[in-house]
């Protein structure tokens, strides 16, 4: 046990895990754009489901390798955070010593978020025509109307919006306006306005997501930012 702890507490271990992760990310950045057709659906499905469905290890091995490196980095981070926190509690400059541990914690939460998103998230895109009602994920019933677009002088769409009606058990529950970068949240689902068409008939491409990992990733991001700012403050006040 001591040998394992020593291994994961070692900075050299962290260094090599970072290094190998970087190598795999680099390989991925080359493999991915050269096999676009194969990877076209990777962002539309939770990662683990996409990996098991794709069944092509020749093209996806680097993703498994990255996940393995991240798992090992997570273990290393847990060991280092516990060790750093114990040592930091006896320090005079508590903020300076503990803020890197807060950042570590943030990274762990972000990893947890990605793990949940990759395993139990839900994503689907649906096109709804104006005046049409659609059921999504067997739970959501949506009706679209009043599709509006703004164009510039060249005729490019500069903004768009549409009214969405939300139904439960056949009864209208809500009516909201959906616009780009202004998602609507209904229960566990988020609705995002991806694109709009006016010809041949007004319609909207809407992404429907349920992402249980996003909140954890956000919490991780907050920890990472607070830890970082704490470190800067700790340095200046030291």
């Amino acid at each position: 046990m001591k040998a394992i702890a020593r291994f994961f507490l070692s900075l050299k271990t962290a260094f090599w895990l970072f290094f190998v992760f970087i190598v795999f990310a680099f390989i991925g950045s080359v493999v991915l754009p050269n096999n676009l057709a194969f990877f076209s659906g990777i962002d539309d499905t939770p990662l683990f489901r996409w990996l098991s469905d794709s069944g092509n290890l020749k093209l996806t091995w680097w993703i498994y390798a990255m996940i393995l490196m991240l798992a090992l980095l997570a273990v290393s981070t847990i060991f280092c955070t516990i060790d750093g926190t114990i040592k930091g509690l006896n320090s005079r400059n508590l903020i300076l010593k503990l803020s890197p541990q807060v950042m570590h914690l943030g990274v762990l939460f972000i990893m947890l978020g990605h793990l949940l998103t990759a395993s139990i998230g839900f994503k689907t895109d649906m096109r709804i025509k104006e005046g049409e009602k659609k059921v999504v994920a067997g739970e959501i019933e949506l009706y679209l109307e009043d599709v509006k677009v703004q164009t510039d002088k060249q005729g490019y769409y500069t903004d768009w919006e549409a009214k969405l009606w939300w139904f439960e058990n056949g009864e209208k529950v809500k009516e909201e306006v959906l616009r780009p970068v202004h998602p609507l949240y209904f229960g566990q689902f988020g609705l995002y306005f991806k694109s709009v068409s006016i010809e041949p008939e007004p319609s909207a491409l809407i992404r429907v997501c349920r992402d249980p990992g996003a909140l954890w990733a956000l919490i991780g991001g907050v920890f990472l930012s607070i830890g970082g700012l704490g470190f800067v403050y700790g340095r200046f006040s030291a």
Binding site: S29, P33, W160, V181, C209, G221, L229
Partner: protein, 254 residues
């Protein structure tokens, strides 16, 4: 909003003019003594003016495309250089830093200013993402210059300053990635995409994470760490300029 009633050619000339004035002043900042110092500060003044005028012309914060981003990064580099010059006493850092930020000013001219904006970019989270992203890059850039300066004269305190610059840059860069993830989630319902661009941005973050850990390993302090820090900026520049040109990163469905 059109700032001046100018033709397309007139506007292009004005853009070039507004970039060349501060660039010339930055280069003249290499002159010794107070004269050089004040010329450099005048460069900052005219650089801010050029960014403000550009913002007034397009009616928003000019941070949404490469011409504006690179100019903004060069301005932050000028401020970071100024800090290390005046507060940390790196009086000769300009020999490395000022030519570099002048090069970035020229590079910004290589990208045609674009005045339209996608509705997906109209989010404060996007602006925060870009704002912090290029502040991080500016810290990485000046830290690389300090690393070169250290390699040239070997004074250990400069390597420590390079480390301080990088850790500040990395923290700001981390905050920019958090803001970017929030923006992307609000815009598209996901906070990660499998594209070369995302992989390389992650790679930059991990590379500097590697540097920050490596610096505490015996045998890697000093020159090896300085070289790692300098290479980090090369990695960051490749992530910004190389991905999409050298490594293809075609636009996704997003």
């Amino acid at each position: 909003m059109a700032l001046f009633e100018l033709s397309e050619e007139g506007r292009s000339l004005l853009t070039i003019f507004l970039i060349l004035i501060p660039t010339a002043l930055y280069i003249m900042g290499l002159m010794e003594g107070k004269k050089g110092y004040w010329l450099f500060l005048s460069g900052i003044f005219f650089h801010i003016l050029s960014i403000v005028l550009r913002g007034v012309e397009i009616g928003r914060i000019p941070l949404t495309e490469k011409h504006d981003n690179i100019s903004f990064m060069a301005l932050v580099m000028a401020f970071v250089y100024w800090y290390f010059y005046s507060r940390q006493g790196l009086k000769n850092l300009g020999i490395v830093a000022l030519p570099l930020l002048s090069i970035f000013m020229f590079v910004s001219l290589a990208f045609k200013p674009i005045n339209t904006i996608s509705p997906f970019l109209k989010s404060p989270w996007f602006y925060l993402h870009i704002f912090f992203y290029f502040i991080g890059y500016a810290f990485f850039g000046i830290s690389a210059c300090i690393g070169v300066y250290y390699l040239l004269n070997g004074k250990g305190e400069y390597e420590l300053l390079q480390y301080k610059g990088i850790i500040h840059g990395w923290i700001v860069f981390s905050i920019s990635l958090v803001a970017g993830s929030i923006w992307f989630f609000v815009a598209y319902g996901t906070y990660w995409l499998w594209t070369s661009k995302e992989l390389w941005t992650t790679l930059v973050w991990f590379y500097y994470g590697l540097y920050l850990h490596a610096r505490f390993i015996r045998g890697l302090r000093g020159r090896p760490a300085a070289v790692l820090g300098i290479l980090g900026f090369a990695v960051a520049l490749f992530a910004y300029f190389g991905v999409g040109t050298v490594i293809p990163s075609p636009p996704t469905q997003f």
